[in-house]
């Protein structure tokens, strides 16, 4: 069934978009990530203008992560204090990111920068996660312990001042690295147009040593707030949010996210990390291939506005 999108100005197959939303929603519910790095390329692939895709995906991610966050909240798998402190850093990071975005665009190489940062971040993060997950799995098979090491010798982060007790996560941690992580995620999110969940989750696990039980729920809260903010910003500045497209994606997305969240609880932590690592790595490699291989068409056209009536 074809449906005409009022802002994107093209007709799309409603079931195709619904299925895409559900698939990405499943992944996002399972791993506690927004899924923007999957959804945006998919939308561009079916012919939606990149700017409209980025703007509309933000609200889709907001819906997915809200429904996910509610179910994690019920399971007491969200650390509100941690989320709040992450957000304070995230807000500053987003503002810095928007400023950098504008600066890069004035230099005329924004697309390349986005492409390169996708490649570097996705392959690095994906590779590290897949490697770590694989190692943990092998250790289990050999009968070793799989609990994340929390050595007291992990010096410098625990030596920082302004320590705070995060009750839900059962950790005692300085707020400085927490704010820093939020800042980095906010910055990356604004520049690359993604929620940043797939970077946030490993940063929280490996750098902040947040237990796996609260990582996903808490990262969803951060994603939710930044994506709501991004939706508003895109709607006010570019007028490119396609509400009809967003609604179809949302309905598919929240449904998928529910099943994804349940599936995620059944899968062992290290398997989950390996799967997410491989997925992120695959998307990263796809972007790398696109940069290295000679494109089918060397030329591209872009409308730069000024449409006269």
């Amino acid at each position: 069934m074809q449906l005409y999108l009022p802002i994107a100005d093209i007709p799309v197959n409603i079931f195709l978009v619904l299925a895409m939303g559900a698939a990405v929603g499943f992944v996002s519910g399972m791993f506690g990530i927004g899924g923007g790095f999957l959804m945006t390329p998919l939308l561009i692939f079916i012919g939606i203008a990149p700017a409209v895709a980025v703007a509309s995906v933000a609200s889709h991610i907001a819906a997915s992560s809200f429904s996910g966050a509610i179910s994690y909240w019920r399971r007491r798998a969200i650390d509100p204090t941690l989320a709040l402190i992450l957000l304070s850093g995230g807000t500053i990071g987003t503002a810095l990111g928007v400023w950098t975005f504008t600066y890069l665009r004035s230099l005329g190489q924004l697309d390349l920068m986005i492409g390169l940062s996708y490649v570097v971040l996705l392959t690095a993060v994906g590779g590290a996660m897949a490697y770590e997950g694989l190692r943990a799995m092998l250790r289990t098979r050999r009968g070793g312990t799989v609990t994340l090491r929390r050595p007291g010798s992990h010096g410098w982060i625990h030596g920082l001042p302004l320590k705070m007790r995060f009750k839900r996560s059962k950790i005692y941690l300085s707020i400085i690295p927490v704010i820093f992580v939020g800042l980095v995620i906010g910055f990356i999110g604004a520049v690359m147009g993604i929620g940043g969940g797939f970077i946030l989750v490993p940063l929280m696990i490996y750098l902040l040593r947040v237990p796996t039980s609260t990582v996903i729920g808490t990262s969803m809260v951060l994603t939710l707030v930044t994506m709501i903010f991004a939706t508003l910003l895109h709607a006010v500045t570019n007028h490119l949010v396609d509400a009809v497209l967003a609604l179809i994606l949302m309905v598919g997305g929240v449904t998928g996210a529910q099943f994804g969240a349940r599936a995620g609880q059944k899968i062992r932590g290290e398997h989950l990390r390996l799967l997410l690592g491989l997925l992120v790595l695959a998307v990263g490699i796809r972007f790398a291939v696109e940069l290295v291989i000679r494109p089918a068409d060397l030329f591209t056209i872009r409308e730069t506005g000024g449409a006269a009536p």
């Binding site: 802002i7 609200s59 809200f66 006010v236 949010v241 509400a243 949302m250 060397l298 030329f299 056209i301």
Partner: protein, 260 residues
């Protein structure tokens, strides 16, 4: 077709007098729909252009070797064509050309190939064929249309053709009688919204005899128009509603799928 039927048909058409009254012929044309509405199930459309060549006392008797060229010109916009080049092992956008106020949709139809209709000189002057249409470019500080085989110009035209937004067909105008003609105007699904001007030029023996203009518009109506207008005029309210919609959808899902 009888003369009576022709007369009835001519009466139905919207008469647009030719620009120069000195000419012996007049063109009377009309499109099947002057207002194409974009509804939720819109997925492209095809318009039909009808017309007839009106002859009067000054027309040389026995002159029936008419040629017709129809140009459909969509709303204009600025566009940039970029070329990728390999630098340090990766493909990046290196060079670009800016096209100023060029048509977003452009269709050129005729009853036979342009080089049979008129001499190269006339083709260029009357902008017959995609190679001869004026596409203004900004090259550094200068404004100019370059030669047709310029790489950026030909890449631009080729990409527009691939999307069905530019087209050149030299056999679609058909003469039903020596003076009555029709052609179809295909509009792809991703057709730009706006006003489309249609120019009809009548040639005989390689020279322009007369021309006529008409227009149609492609508009969004109802829900589509409401959404597009709100997004443009009340960005904040639109964003808030979308954000609220996202939260509602997420909340609803968590209720629907609640298991405990």
């Amino acid at each position: 077709m009888t003369a009576r039927a022709l007369l009835v048909l001519a009466g139905l058409l919207v008469a647009i007098p030719a620009a120069s009254p000195a000419c012996a012929e007049r063109l009377i044309v009309s499109v099947s729909n002057h207002r194409v509405t974009v509804t939720p199930n819109y997925s492209g459309e095809e318009l039909v252009l009808f017309g007839s060549v009106e002859r009067d006392a000054d027309t040389p008797p026995g002159r029936t070797n008419y040629d017709l060229v129809v140009s459909v010109i969509g709303p204009r916009a600025d566009m940039v064509t970029r070329r990728k080049e390999r630098r340090f092992g990766i493909w990046i956008n290196s060079d670009y050309r800016q096209f100023l106020q060029v048509p977003t949709y452009l269709a050129l139809f005729s009853n036979r190939p342009f080089d049979q209709i008129a001499s190269p000189e006339v083709q260029r002057r009357q902008q017959l064929g995609l190679n001869n249409v004026l596409l203004m470019q900004r090259v550094g500080p200068d404004y100019a249309d370059v030669v047709p085989n310029d790489v950026f110009r030909s890449a631009f035209v080729r990409l527009r053709i691939e999307h069905g937004l530019y087209r050149e067909e030299t056999s679609t105008v058909t003469f039903l009688t020596p003076t009555l003609f029709r052609t179809t105007i295909p509009l792809p699904a991703e057709v730009p919204i706006g006003t489309y001007n249609v120019e009809i030029k009548l040639f005989t023996d390689g020279a322009l005899v007369t021309k006529a203009d008409t227009a149609f518009e492609i508009v969004k109506v109802g829900f589509e128009q409401f959404v597009a207008n709100t997004a443009r005029q009340n960005g904040l309210a639109y964003g808030l509603v979308t954000a609220a919609m996202a939260l509602m959808t997420g909340w609803m899902a968590s209720i629907v799928f609640r298991r405990d």
